[in-house]
C-alpha cells in the first residue's frame, strides 16, 4: 500500500465507525479528536478494524500514534506496505 492507500483505508474505517461524520474535510495534520466527535472507544474500534481487515496489531502503547491522519499513515504504512487495499 502507498501512503494514499493507507489514508483511504483509514478513512474507510472511520466512515464505518462514525457514519454521521463527514470525512471529506479532514485535515491530516490536526488531531482527529478535535475535528470529529470521536471518543476513546472509537479509537479502539480503529484498532479492532485494522486487525480484522489487515491483520495488523496495534499494541496499547502505540494507540497514541493514531492521533492525526499523518501520524496514522506514518505508523501504519510500514506495517501495510506489502498489502493490497481491502475491497
Amino acid at each position: 500500500m502507498t501512503r494514499d492507500d493507507v489514508r483511504n483505508a483509514v478513512i474507510g474505517i472511520l466512515t464505518d465507525i462514525a457514519p454521521d461524520e463527514d470525512f471529506d474535510a479532514l485535515k491530516d495534520e490536526e488531531k482527529l479528536r478535535d475535528q470529529f466527535d470521536l471518543d476513546s472507544m472509537d479509537f479502539l474500534d480503529i484498532v479492532m478494524e485494522l486487525r480484522k481487515r489487515y491483520n495488523i496489531e496495534v499494541p496499547e502503547a502505540d494507540y497514541e500514534q493514531l492521533v492525526t491522519m499523518t501520524s496514522c499513515i506514518d505508523y501504519l504504512q510500514p506495517l501495510l506496505k506489502n498489502q493490497q487495499m481491502a475491497s
Partner: protein, 480 residues
Amino acid sequence: MARNWLKGAQTRYDSVVIGSGLAGMTAANMLAKAGHSVLLLEQHYNFGGLATWFKRKGGHILDISLHGFPIGMIKTCRKYWSKEIADSIVRLQGVRFDNPQFTFSTTFDKIDFTNIMRERFGVLKEVIDDFFVTAREMNFYDNLSMTTRDLFEKFFPGRTDIHRLLMEPITYANGSTLDDPAVTYGIVFSNFMDKGVYTFKGGTDALVKKMKKEMLKNGVDIRNHCLVDKILVEDKKTRGVRVNGREIESDVVLSNSSLPATIHKLTGDEHFSPEFLEEARKVRMNNSSCQVYMGIKKGEKIDYTGDLLFTSVTDEFSAKKLCDKNVTSRTFSFYYPEIRPGTNQYSIVSSTNANFEDWANLTEEEYLKEKDKLIESTLTALEKYVPDIRSKVDHVEASTPKTFKRYTMHTRGSSFGTKFEGLKISKELPEQIAGLFHTGSVGIIMSGWLGAANYGVIVSNEVDRFLRKVKSERLETVSV
C-alpha cells in the same frame, strides 16, 4: 433427575464467558462476531445480570437498574449490538432534586446545569465552563491523589450546595464518594451530566430479549441455570471451566463474575503470584443497594412530574448517610406507560445505597421487620410527592444487599463493582494466567450499563488478540 441445562453443549470452545451481565454479553457477542466459538454460562434463569426485571401479579413489570444511563449507550449499542437496539433508546424528560438546600427540575445537560448554576447558585459562567472542560479532559494519566473533594473545593470552595448537586447523582449511579480519585468523577460526570439521561423503550426485558436474539444470530451458545464453580488452570494457563458438574475445555475463560470471586473462589489463590494476591486483597468494593418496588393498580394514574427524583432530608451531601440503614435520601424512578408501549401501567422504584454488613447479620425475624420498616418509610416519604400513593399501589416489595448478593453472587452484594484499584487488577489477570480474563463493573469508571458494556468491548479486543495468536500458533504446529 434434574434437567441437563448443558444438553448438546460441545466439549470445547474457543472461549467460555462466565456470567451474562452487560459486560459478559457484550464481550460474548463481540467474540462471536470476530469468528470465535463462544459459550456463555449464566447461573440465574434470566440473562442480563443486574440489568434485570421481575414480574408480579397484577400485570406489574418492575425494573432494577433502568433509572437511566448516559447518551453514549446509543453509540455503544449501535456499534457493538444492532441499530434496532440503539434505536429503542430514548431521552428522559425531567429530573428533579428536592432537599433542604435546593428544589428544582432539570433536563440534566450541560446547558441546563450551566443556567442553574449561574442563576440559582450565582456562579460565574467562566468558572462553570472551566469546570466542564477540566472534567472532560481528565484521563488515566492524571494525578490520582487528587480527590473529587479537592476538585470541588478548587472550583467551588465551601459551596456544599453545589457539591451536592454535582455529586449526589453520581453517588447513586456508581457508589463513588468525595474521597475517590477525581479522575473517576471527571470521566463519569462528562458522560452522564452533559447530554441528558436516557432509557430503553420497552424496558429491560425488551433489551435483554433483543440482545439474546442478536447473540444467537451471531452463534453464541447461551445457557442459563449454569453455575461455574471452578476455572481450570494448568501450567499457568486456563484450560476451561467446571460447570454443573461437567468440565468444558476452552483456550479462554472470560469471567464476568465479581472480581474477588473470580480470583479467590473460582480460580484459587494458589495460581497467583504473592505480589498480585496482596494487591488483589486490597481491592475495595463499592456499596450495595436497597430498593422498594411499587406497582400501581391497573386503571390508576400518576401525573407526570418527572422521571427521576433525587430526594433527601439531610442538611448536606454525605456519601455515608446515603448508605445509612436509617434512610434520609432516596432516588425515585417513575415508570410511565410510555416506557412499555401497550401495557398502560405505572410503577415507582425507590433506590438507596446500602451497606452489606447492615443487612447481612440480622436474624430472619429482624431482617423481615427491617424490610417492612423500609417499605413503610419509603411510602411515607413518597406521600410528599404522590399524596394518595397508598391507595394507588397494589404491589410493594423490597430488596436489600442480601437480595443483590443472592441473585448476582457478587462479593458483599456490590451494586457497582470495585473501587478504582480494581481496574488494574482486572486488567492484569491475563499476565498471571494465560487465557484468563475478567470483565464487568470495576474501577468506578467501568460500571453502570455503559461502563460495563464498554469494558466488555475493551476486554473482548484483548481476548480476540490472544485467540488469534493461539490459533495461528496451532496452525504452524500442524503444518510443521
